[in-house]
Each structure stands twice: as C-alpha cells, then as structure tokens.
C-alpha cells in the first residue's frame, strides 16, 4: 500500500468512526426502546476490546505516518501521541483482566487527547496567512494529510479519541 492509499483508508475509517461515535451515543443516551436496550446489553460486553482495538489502530497509524511515510511529527502531534499510546496499555490490561475500572484510567487521557486534537484540527483546517511555506522545523500547521477536502491527521486522532470515549461510556459499571 502506498502512503496515499493508506492515508485515504485511514481518513475513510476516521469518518466512519465519527458516524459510529454518533450511533453509540444514540444507543447510550437515546430513547429506551427494546432494540436500544438489547444493543446496549450486547455492546457492553465488547466495548473494552473494541476500544482497545481503536487505540491500537490509532497508534499503529500514527507510527506508520512517522516511521514509514517519514512525516515529522510536530509538537501538538507529540502531545496527542502521549495521550493515545498509553491507551493501548491501559485498555489492553482492562480488556484482559475484564476490569471495567480501566475506563476510569483511560477517560482523562482520552479527554486531554481529544481537546488537543480539536485545537490542532482547527489549526490545520484554518491555517493563518503565511503558512503556505515549509520551514526546517515541523510546524503544527503543516498538512501532511488532507483527504476528502477536510480530513487531516489531527482529525483522524480526534476520531480515535471520540470513538474510544463513546465506547467506554457503554462499559457496564460493574462487571
């Protein structure tokens, strides 16, 4: 797969993640229909491994872009990485030990990561004037990926953080 193919694939997955996040929020907070109750019951059994899988995908995607596509991560990229990478470990341990409290440790990281991703996505979507050039440092406004006219790397990160958050909201409090 070329870098362009991988970028498009991950961008499409990011959009799908936003759709999935919206659906999960409907399941969690929506009307108490019979279908909704069943979905909530069934989903609560798989949300921990599912959120782990999202964290793994986001981490591998991030490493792909820096180590294989050779995009230099900027400062804000690093802050998001600091929030995302530990989720692989935290959610992994929570999944294996079936420990619903794992979400308590994950939530703060998810919130911090999502907040930075929102700001970074805004920066890349609306770069100020004078950001049409590259410098030797990696500026945070530099769009390495711009798929479908709006999906940047931080927007992909945001998709990962919000999907993990929506999944963790469905974790049954006591297992």
């Amino acid at each position: 797969m070329t870098v362009a193919t991988t970028s498009t694939f991950l961008a499409a997955m990011a959009i799908a993640s936003f759709v999935a996040t919206a659906l999960l929020l409907v399941v969690r907070f929506g009307p108490q229909t019979a279908l909704n109750a069943r979905l909530r019951r069934d989903l609560s059994r798989v949300v921990l491994p599912a959120s782990w899988l999202v964290a793994i995908t986001a981490t591998l995607g991030s490493l792909y872009f820096s180590e294989i596509a050779n995009f230099t991560p900027c400062k804000l990229c690093w802050f998001q990485r600091v929030a995302m990478y530990p989720l692989v470990v935290i959610l992994g341990v929570a999944t294996i030990t079936r420990d619903a409290r794992g979400r308590l440790y994950a939530f703060p990281l998810v919130a911090i990561g999502a907040a930075i991703a929102v700001y970074h996505s805004y920066l890349q979507a609306y770069p100020g004037s004078g950001s049409s050039f590259c410098t030797l440092e990696a500026p945070c406004t530099q769009r390495h990926v711009w798929e479908f006219g709006f999906v940047s790397l931080p927007l992909m990160a945001l998709a990962g953080f919000t999907l993990i958050a929506a999944l963790l909201l469905l974790v049954a409090p006591e297992e």
Partner: protein, 257 residues
C-alpha cells in the same frame, strides 16, 4: 464526500437487519450484525482507498506532450552535490511578513554545480532575467507547487524571456518523498534543476527563508524579488514579469554598461 450516502446506506441497512433479526428471534444477540456492519465499513474504506489511489496514480505522471516548449523531464540519480558560490551571499530572507527584503537590488551570487544526472549547471549571474525556485522534496507545499507549475508549462511551455531554474535543497534521506529526483521525475518536471549540497550551500547563498522559495533576478543578475511560500500561477507569472521588468531592463542595461 461521496461516501456519505454510502455510510448512511450502511447505517440504514444495518438498522434494517437488526430490526429484522429482532423480529425473527427475540432476545438474540445483535453482536453478529454489529460486527458485520463494522466489517462492511472497513472493506468499503479499503475499496475506496485503493480506487482513489489507483485513479490518482494514472493522472500523477503526465509527461509533457512531445515537441512542446516545456523541455525534457529531469533525470539522473544525484541527491546532493557540491555547489560553488561566486559572489557575496544574499542576506537572509526576513521571516516577519511585511519587512522589506534587504536583498533587493543586490547582486545574486552565481551558483555552479550539477544537475541530477551530473551535468554541469550554472544558476544566476548576468545575461538574462532569471527565476530560481528552491524546493524540498519533503515539503507538502513544494509537492503541490511543482505539479501546478508543470501543468502550466506543459500547456504553454516554459516562460519565455527568462531562464527558469529549480534548486533541489534540504535533502533528507529519512524524510518523506525521498529521493527528490524520483519525485520530480514522477511529476514530469522539465525545469533545469541544480542539486544543492548536503549542507544547503545554494540555499544559504540565496538567503532561503522557507520552502518553496523563489528569487527573481534581472538581466544583470540583481535581485528584483524574493518570496517564500506556495505561489498561485498569477503570482508566479508576476515574478516572471518582474524579472523581465520593462523599467528594470533599462536600469539593468545601464548596469551592464
């Protein structure tokens, strides 16, 4: 954008399936349906990505039409090479926008080095108006500027009345889109391109600010404009006009005498 209806279609389909499953066997697990929906989305994303990249790769390399004034595509395998500088280096390009460029009117140094194929190449000096464009292979703005300009050259040929040069600089083996020559060949780049040294001798000599970086010289080799950042075709053509400059040509002929 085109995938939006498909997503909602998937969603509707999944919802319909789930509803159907519920009607058939009340109390049955919805998980297989959820997993199937996720699988469909992943496969669809993969399909979309492969289709999008295969259609873009067919349009990416478009060699200039034979016999056009665009010239021949660069070739070779050099990534860096020594560059000799004759004359004084230009002052650094001011990084604050709006600051007057201290290099205006200064005589640009002459750069002597090699093209990608090792053939000798000289950039700058008196003789003809010149536009020099510095590009870095890893820079997304250069990656957009190069095909935009080349598309114009393929249609109309290289700009008449000026010598146009590119300088491939800031080459980093561990950065994206390496080596620069593969990228420029892929884009069908026909502008004579000087290969800068590993430590950026040519870029430093011209006071490079950011990438891409453009320097316009009049017929006497004096700087008439320097600019940093992606240019539109209009801005690029304005730079060419500035290099040729009707009033500037009289001053340059005075200077040449």
């Amino acid at each position: 954008m085109s995938n939006k209806p498909n997503h909602s279609a998937n969603r509707n389909r999944t919802a319909a399936r789930v509803a159907a499953a519920e009607a058939q066997k009340p109390g049955g697990s919805t998980l297989p349906w959820i997993l199937a929906a996720v699988g469909v989305v992943v496969v669809f994303a993969l399909f979309l990505a492969i289709r999008a990249s295969s259609s873009s790769s067919t349009t990416a390399s478009r060699p200039p039409p034979a016999g056009s004034a665009a010239g021949t595509v660069v070739q070779g395998n050099l990534s860096t090479a020594d560059v000799a500088v004759a004359g004084n280096a230009l002052p650094a390009f001011p990084d604050k926008p709006g600051t007057p460029d201290p290099a205006l009117g200064a005589k640009a140094p002459t750069l002597t080095g090699k093209g990608f194929d090792g053939s000798p190449l000289t950039v700058g000096g008196a003789g003809q108006p010149t536009v020099v464009m510095f590009v870095a292979h890893w820079c997304p703005h250069c990656q957009r500027e190069v095909p935009a300009l080349q598309a114009e050259f393929n249609q109309k040929g290289l700009p008449a009345g000026v010598q146009l040069f590119a300088v491939s600089t800031s080459v980093k083996e561990d950065a994206a889109n390496y080596p620069p020559v593969s990228w420029l060949v892929k884009e069908g780049w026909t502008v004579p391109t000087l290969v800068d040294s590993a430590d950026g001798t040519a870029a430093t000599a011209y006071g490079l600010g950011g990438f891409p970086f453009f320097v316009a010289l009049d017929a006497s080799g004096n700087v008439v404009a320097r600019t940093s950042g992606e240019l539109t075709l209009e801005q690029f053509n304005a730079l060419v006009v500035a290099a040729k400059g009707t009033p500037a040509s009289s001053t340059s002929s005075v200077a040449a005498r």
